[in-house]
C-alpha cells in the first residue's frame, strides 16, 4: 500500500478508468493544458490527448448538458466543475436532464456521468466560493451523491462512480486534497457506492460525519477518549443512497447521536439523517439527536469569522458531551 494524497488518489482513479474504458472522457475548465485548477487532472492531457481530455470555455450549463447528451449516445463523461459553486449555473441540466432522463424515457436512456470537483469551504474564498451543495443534489431521485474523506475512499469511490450507470455527484473538499492516506495498489480497488464506513469503533456515542468533518470527528473522538467516552465515527461516504442501516445499528448500540456537517443546518443532510434515525430507532435513543452544522450565514471572508463558521473538533466533542449528559 502506497501513502498518497487525496489529490493523487483521484488522479489515479481517473487515469486507471480512462485506460480501462475508451468511452470515458474528461471535460471541464482548465482540466487539460493547465493540469487542473487543483491539479487533480495533472498529466492526463499528455497521456490521453485532446480527444479525451477537453478544456472547455467557462460555460457550465453548456458542458454539463453536453455531457448528458454524450451519455445518451453511449459515452461515459466525467465532468469537472472547478468548484461545485459553479455547478449552480448547471443545475438545470444536472437536475432536469441527468437525474430524470432514465425515468422519463421509460428506462431507455441511462446517463452514466460523473460530475466532480471540490465543494464546501476553502481558505478565505468568501461567500460565493465556499458552499456545501450536497443537500441540493441529494434531494433529487435519480442522482447519487458521493463525498469521500480519505485517499483510499477517494480513489475507490471515484472508480465506482465512473463505472456506475447513473449520474453521480462526486464532491471533493479543497482543504483535503493534500491529506495523505494508504491506498491499495490494486487497479481494481473499488469502494462500493451506498455503503457507510465505520472510521472508528466505539460504544458510548455515535458521530456521523462526512467529508471535512470526518477528520474533525476523529479528533473529537480522541479528545473524548481521554475523558473516558468511547465514540463511534461513521462516514456515510455516499449521501444518496444513504446507508442508514449502518448508522441505525450504531445508534442502537450507543443510544446517542451527533451529526456533524460543514453545510448550513437548514434542510441539510444532518436533518435528514436525524429524522431517519428517529423513525427507525427512536426507542433506542437516550438523548435528543444533536446537529453540529456550519453557520447559517453566507461564508465571510475575514479569517476569524470564517473559522467561526466551520464546525470544529471541539464543537463536536461538546455536542457529544451534551448528548451524553456529561456537562
Amino acid at each position: 500500500m502506497a501513502v498518497i494524497t487525496i489529490r493523487e488518489a483521484l488522479n489515479q482513479a481517473l487515469k486507471e478508468e480512462m485506460l480501462r474504458d475508451d468511452s470515458i472522457f474528461l471535460m471541464g475548465e482548465e482540466v487539460g493544458a493547465y493540469q487542473g485548477a487543483y491539479k487533480v487532472t495533472k498529466g492526463l492531457l499528455d497521456q490521453f490527448g485532446e480527444k479525451r481530455v477537453i478544456d472547455t470555455p467557462i460555460t457550465e450549463l453548456g458542458f454539463a448538458g453536453l455531457g448528458v447528451g454524450a451519455a445518451m449516445a453511449g459515452l461515459r463523461p466525467v465532468i469537472e466543475f472547478m468548484t461545485f459553486n459553479f455547478s449552480i449555473l448547471a443545475a438545470d441540466q444536472i437536475i432536469n436532464s441527468a437525474a430524470k432522463m432514465l425515468y422519463m424515457s421509460g428506462g431507455q436512456y441511462k446517463i452514466p456521468i460523473v460530475y466532480r470537483g471540490p465543494g464546501g469551504s476553502a481558505f478565505q474564498v468568501s461567500s460565493q466560493h465556499s458552499q456545501a451543495m450536497e443537500s441540493w443534489y441529494a434531494y433529487f431521485p435519480g442522482l447519487k451523491v458521493v463525498m469521500p474523506s480519505t485517499a483510499a475512499d477517494a480513489k475507490g469511490l471515484l472508480k465506482s462512480a465512473i463505472r456506475d450507470d447513473d449520474p453521480v455527484i462526486f464532491i471533493e473538499q479543497e482543504r483535503m486534497y493534500g491529506m495523505k492516506g494508504e491506498v491499495p495498489d490494486d487497479d481494481d480497488f473499488l469502494v462500493p457506492l451506498g455503503v457507510a464506513d465505520i472510521k472508528r469503533e466505539g460504544k458510548d456515542a455515535t458521530i456521523v460525519a462526512r467529508s471535512l468533518m470526518v477528520p474533525a470527528a476523529l479528533k473529537a473522538a480522541e479528545i473524548l477518549e481521554s475523558d473516558g467516552v468511547s465514540c463511534e465515527v461513521i462516514d456515510p461516504r455516499t449521501i444518496r443512497p444513504l446507508d442508514i442501516q449502518t448508522i441505525v445499528e450504531s445508534v442502537k448500540k450507543t443510544s446517542r447521536l451527533v451529526v456533524a456537517e460543514e453545510s448550513h443546518p437548514f434542510c441539510g443532510v444532518a436533518a435528514e439523517i436525524s429524522v431517519q434515525v428517529m423513525e427507525r430507532a427512536f426507542d433506542y435513543l437516550d438523548a435528543p439527536i444533536k446537529r453540529v452544522s456550519g453557520a447559517d450565514a453566507p461564508m465571510p471572508y475575514a479569517k476569524n469569522l470564517e473559522n467561526l463558521a466551520i464546525p470544529t473538533a471541539d464543537q463536536i466533542a461538546a455536542a457529544v458531551r451534551e448528548v451524553a449528559y456529561l456537562d
Binding site: F25, K51, I54, T56, P57, T59, L61, G62, F63, A64, G65, L66, G67, V68, G69, A70, A71, M72, A73, G74, L75, P77, D92, Q93, N96, S97, M101, L102, Y103, M104, S105, G106, G107, Q108, Y109, K110, I111, P112, P141, G142, K144, D164, D165, D166, P192, L193, G194, V195, T238, P241, L242, D243, I244, Q245, T246
Partner: protein, 377 residues
Amino acid sequence: MSKPTPESSSRAVAEEESSTGVIDTEAEQGETSAIQRDQGKVKRQQKGRLGNLKREELIKLYHEMLLIRRFEEKCAEAYSLGKIGGFCHLYIGQEAVAVGAISAIRKDDYVLTSYREHGHAIAKGIAPEAVMAELFGKVTGCSHGKGGSMHLFDKSVNFLGGHAIVGGQIPLATGVAFASKYQGTDQVTLCFFGEAAVNQGAFHESLNMAQLWKLPCIYICENNQYGMGTSQDRAMSLRDVAQKACAYEIAAEFVDGMDVLAVREATLRAVERARKDYLPTLIEVRTYRFMGHSMSDPGNYRTRAEIERHQERDPIKLFLTNLKEQQLIDDGQVKKIETDVRETVEKAVRFAEESPEPPPEDLFKGVYANPISQGDK
C-alpha cells in the same frame, strides 16, 4: 468554416438567391396584402422545387404532414374529453418543419426537440399508436407512460426526447453530436427549438461549443413568433435569429417554414456539412402555430384575423395545391390518403384506449439504472 456560408444568415442574400422563401417583416405586422404577395411567392418557389424529388417521395411528405395534422386534431379532441392530461402543445401549422427536416436525414441520425414534439416523433418514425398511448398515460406508450406529451422517447429510432425546460435540449443535442464525432460515426443530430429558446443561455453556450469543436449538430429554430403569449418583438432585441449565428461564426440559413421542400433542402445542405466535415448549422425556419401555446391557452394576445392570415399559407394546403396543379396527385389519391390517415389515427386512439395503465410498481422503476437499496453490502 470561419464565415457563414453563401446561403446564409442575411435575409437579403437569401431573398436575392431565391433559395429560401422570405416573409416580409411588414407582413407579419399585419399587412394582409404583403402576406398575400408572399403566399404567391412561396407557392411559386415551392413549385420550382417539386422537380427535385420523385413523385412517391413528394406524396410521402404530404401524407406525413396530413397524418400529423389529423393526429393533433385528435389530440385536441381527446384532451377536451379528459383522456390526455397535463400540458398538451399542438404542432398544427408547423408540420412542414418536422416533416421537411426529418425527411433529409437517415434513420440512424438523432433528433431532439422541445415539448411541442408529437410531429417530430411521428416524422422520426415512432408509431402513432405508441405516441398516442403515451399521451393517454399508458404503459404501451413510447416512454411507458412515464413521460407524457412533453417527454416522448424511442431509442429504436434515435428519438432522444422532448424536453420541457425551454432550451434544455440544445446542450443535450450538442452532446449527442459530440458523441458521434468522438465515436467517429457520420451520424448527424437535428435539434429543434422555438425562437423563445434563443434567449436562453443554453442556446448561446451550445452554438459556441458546436462551432469551436466542430460538432455535427443542426440547430433548427422553429420561429413561430410567439413564446407562449409573448410575441417575438416583445422578447428579442435582434429578431433575425439566423443572424445570431454570426456571433459564433456558424453557418446559417433562413427558410420559409410553410414550404416543406424549402425546409428539406436547407436541412439537406446542413446535413452534408455535418456528415462530411463535422460542421454545425443554424437554420431559422419561419413558421406559425395555428393553435394556442397549449390546450389551456385563451389566445388573447393575438387576433383571429392574424391567425387567419397565416392560415392562408397553410403548409399542407399550399403543398397540395402545388401537387395538384402539377398533376402529381389526383383527387382519388387525395381521398385515399385522407382515409388512410384517418384510419391510422383512429387505430392509434383505439390502441391507446385499450392499453393498460402502468402497473403501480412502475412508480419506482427506472429511477436508477444501478439501484442500491439502503445498506446494501
